[in-house]
Symmetry: C3
């Protein structure tokens, strides 16, 4: 594999081992009797591979993505708690179980939680896709991690600013900052895939 390979090409081991680090595991097991000694050596390289670094990009992406999904689950749990505390239920059957039909109503605090959750869906779900494809484009691990980190922090600040009603424009700034790595990743994906449209 030439070192001069353009960055927009897929790093193959990034996909073969997006979550692993042992290059030794690349090959499937074979029945030893079928393998000549020469092939055995070339198929089970014991030298550390310089490509191990790149696999970390997908690992890093999976880490930040899962943190953000858990963050969304927390917003869902908070929404449920606010519904119980403010006695504002979305369905008559829920209200009946919690005091009566008069609690089948909207509440501004509940709506706020729902807006935060919806904004997460509008922005975190696309990141899950863009980040996965971008991780396969052999990006620099340091640059990729910066992308993921900025998005993750931006979205956590966005949720805090939303739920705690922080003064504008805190929330919109957090939203805009988090969009920067998304646009960057989308652009890099387009650059790599446009020849194949």
């Amino acid at each position: 594999m030439p070192l001069s390979r353009p960055r927009t090409k897929l790093h193959p081991t990034a996909l073969i081992h997006p979550l692993g680090e042992n290059q030794d595991e690349l090959e499937p097991p074979r029945s030893p009797s079928k393998i000549s000694a020469g092939c055995e050596r070339c198929r089970r390289p014991s030298a550390p591979s310089p490509k191990r670094m790149e696999n970390k990009v997908f690992m890093s992406f999976a880490f930040y993505s899962t943190i953000l999904i858990l963050k969304m689950y927390v917003v869902a749990i908070i929404t449920g708690q606010v519904r119980l505390r403010k006695k504002a239920f979305a369905n008559p059957e829920d209200a009946l179980r919690n005091g009566g039909l008069q609690y089948y109503r909207e509440d501004p605090d509940v709506e706020r939680c729902r807006r935060a959750h919806r904004n997460d869906m509008e922005n975190i779900f696309p990141f899950l896709f863009l980040g996965a494809i971008y991780s396969l484009l052999d990006p620099s691990p340091a640059v990729a991690r910066i992308h993921f980190f900025i998005f993750c922090v931006g979205r956590i600040v966005h949720t805090i600013a939303y739920l705690l009603r922080l003064k504008a424009p805190t929330r919109s700034v957090a939203y805009s900052v988090a969009q920067l790595p998304c646009f960057s990743m989308a652009l890099q994906i387009l650059l790599a895939t446009t020849p194949y449209w």
Copy 2:
């Protein structure tokens, strides 16, 4: 590949063959004239691989995920049918085509369908991500299938409970049960990827 490999490492063939089962297909075709006989044999192993089992995890995940996406499409179709039956349209142009502007209005049954659909987005879309990453972590096929099955059944019961207004807390119990495999998968992904944050 040693059997003592920790579970948090990626099973390589799980990613190389997430949807296939023929280890024979691992290598790309080469022009025969370039290959020595010894290499030919080691590259085209005919012995069954013990790793075939693991590939089924991703197949199983793809099956349950697609079922749930089709379930969401059904909710969308039901929403459209309820809109036509109750004559409650979200847009003036739709109302005009279906009897007049007075039908540009909200309806509790339509809103119920929309809430069910939105709840699906909030929970099924994260599962599509968590399940895919989890499938690459070399989980036990039996345990993985239990994760997917519980989530799938939980979400189907959730939709039925929502649309048929089943008595509380049927719907919330279905929601909570479906979240258990999601939290389990998220935890396992974090355990595997935290070193790479």
Copy 3:
């Protein structure tokens, strides 16, 4: 790899190189001293692989998907612009920063943008999943591209019809046309994965 392989089997290089095209990159680098000349040749095939074509399916999918995600970002930006122009903000803190609490209100144009965005989430996000799995099922590149192209054009027309209030049933026809490749891909995934449920 026999040419008679059923279509429902994964094309291995489609996953190993979903975004790349150089079969030469399949193998990880090894220390040269460990490799016999015969193995070197069989591991670095220089002949063009007939499988390169298939990798383009995933590239093509990534291209159309990213276009659609950018389209969704455009809808989000339009929503923000309409909020500023019509002075209709979803949060009191936003209204306070833009003229006063009286602008914390709903607006039909803003709601229209939000419905368009929500419909995108309901339909484009499932496509991101179905298209990725479908791309790994070794579909015909031409047929796959037709799937992606129809969906992409359908969703762009849907957004234009929504935001410009085109006469019904333009929008619903665009929605229905875009669903056809999704149902087709879902069906093909189920056919391939049902044995592994």
